[in-house]
Symmetry: C2
Subunit: 252 residues, 2 copies
DNA sequence: TCAAAAGTGTTGCTCATACACCCATGA
DNA sequence: TCATGGGTGTATGAGCAACACTTTTGA
């Protein structure tokens, strides 16, 4: 029972090296026509074994010279061309059987602002350089994915839903200025249930996370006030870890 | 920007291998005399560079043939001779600068039942084979540790305190049968504040996690009923991940 | 009979929900 | 003027903190 694998972090010890991958579950929001918005995420089609032809989470091997969250940001940028408005480590998956050969995957989850995704898509369409092998899927209705990636997405969804309950994270999916109805719809899409507009309004007003602007969005009814996110308030309490050093740009 | 590190989990790709360590923040409870109990954790004195002579979290290199939580259980058993009543992954630390050479540490946190720790210590004392280079420290009053281990312990403490707030996890530190006062003292030790005995009683009674026994502990006052943990209820909600396959024994 | 802890009752506050209602605009 | 969503007011109930109170034991 008492194997003597020498104590860790020692430079000289003979130690088994392991292949370490970093993958990210990237959430964004899409609204088609006048449907309710829904959570979507980008997947990459595998071009080699194992699981060739199946869809998988975007990711890549951990570079020797980069931190874990840098690797997540990098692979995220490589597949979407964008930087995340929120990025958090999800879990490290390392079971023996999860891949034909031993791979430890450090998985992150991220939020992308829907307007940036839309702009990017439009740019690609205009330039005719839409990326091969990348497509967006409805988060709650995925095909069978490579490896254990279905389970990973399920866990990421669970974390997202949890987090939405106790922190104001939903506007990571929204443009800079948005109405309370926008924000409520995001929460409804994440939680998959309707929220009372009146009570929702009071909750966010009391949470102090939003700054009202003097702009209004006009529709065919009473105009709705636009709000902006209060940068002084952390999106989510992550304890002593704080927010990762921001490699993500502040694309204002 | 678009480096082409081939997509992960591919068996054939040239990929940088990384040394992966698994460490564990192991919490237990100690009461000296009639003091309030306090959280303690075992540390291992490093016997080689880097940080030779400093105390560090118990851990070891990840074996090629074991899952991550198996590695945590193994190293936990190697340093304490015991198995945990609760084990959960904490975080993966992999910053470039955290060790002279690149090491990714998958860190777990665990709870040990105080009675098992005491029995183990007594056995060691009797046999005169108390382990070298291992000692127990008060969790909130640690010396300067090797690597980034102080920050890791801080984060583990934060997680433990958080979790105690929304799940009934504290009896992972207690023997099989315990009084409500015992349980309350554990919570007080973790949260570092006094709790109202009356309200605490109602909370746990309503949570349905405890089974009252017909035994009582007598002192110099009214005897207190002993309770047992209700195995049907999960200690903590971990979402789709569920509880790890139990390598930990069910030492009843 | 007294000290001390076990255990019960009660009150008041905060907050979430449900829902009735008024407001402002475009058509 | 009317339909529609924006926005306000308010009653109800659950849950929790505070604390007074009763019960049961050993000394």
């Amino acid at each position: 029972m008492t194997r003597t694998n020498p104590s860790p972090d020692t430079a000289d010890a003979e130690s088994t090296e392991t292949r370490v991958a970093v993958s990210t579950v990237i959430f964004s929001l899409r609204r088609d026509g006048d449907e309710d918005p829904r959570l979507v995420l980008p997947l990459v089609k595998r071009t080699r074994d194992p699981y060739e032809g199946l869809w998988a989470l975007p990711g890549g091997w951990l570079d020797a010279s980069e931190n874990l969250d840098e690797a997540a940001s990098r692979t995220l940028a490589e597949t979407t061309g964008l930087s995340a408005s929120y990025l958090e480590q999800l879990y490290a998956f390392g079971d023996i059987g999860r891949s034909p050969s031993r791979v430890v995957s450090i998985v992150y989850w991220a939020l992308l602002r829907s307007d940036e995704v839309d702009a990017q898509s439009a740019a690609h369409a205009a330039a005719g350089d839409a990326p091969e092998n990348v497509d967006w899927f409805t988060a709650t209705d995925l095909p069978g994915l490579a490896f254990d990636h279905n389970a990973i997405v399920d866990y990421a969804l669970w974390r997202l839903r949890n987090k939405v309950g106790y922190s104001r994270i939903a506007h990571g999916l929204l443009p800079d200025a948005f109405t309370l109805a926008d924000l409520r719809e995001v929460n409804e899409a994440i939680l998959d249930r309707k929220l009372d507009p009146a009570n929702f309004r009071r909750q966010v007003e009391n949470s102090n996370t939003l700054i009202p602007t003097e702009s209004f969005r006009t529709g065919s009814h009473r105009p709705a006030r636009l709000y902006r996110y209060n940068q002084d308030v952390e999106l989510a309490d992550r304890g002593p870890l704080g927010r990762p050093r921001s490699h993500e740009s502040s694309t204002t």
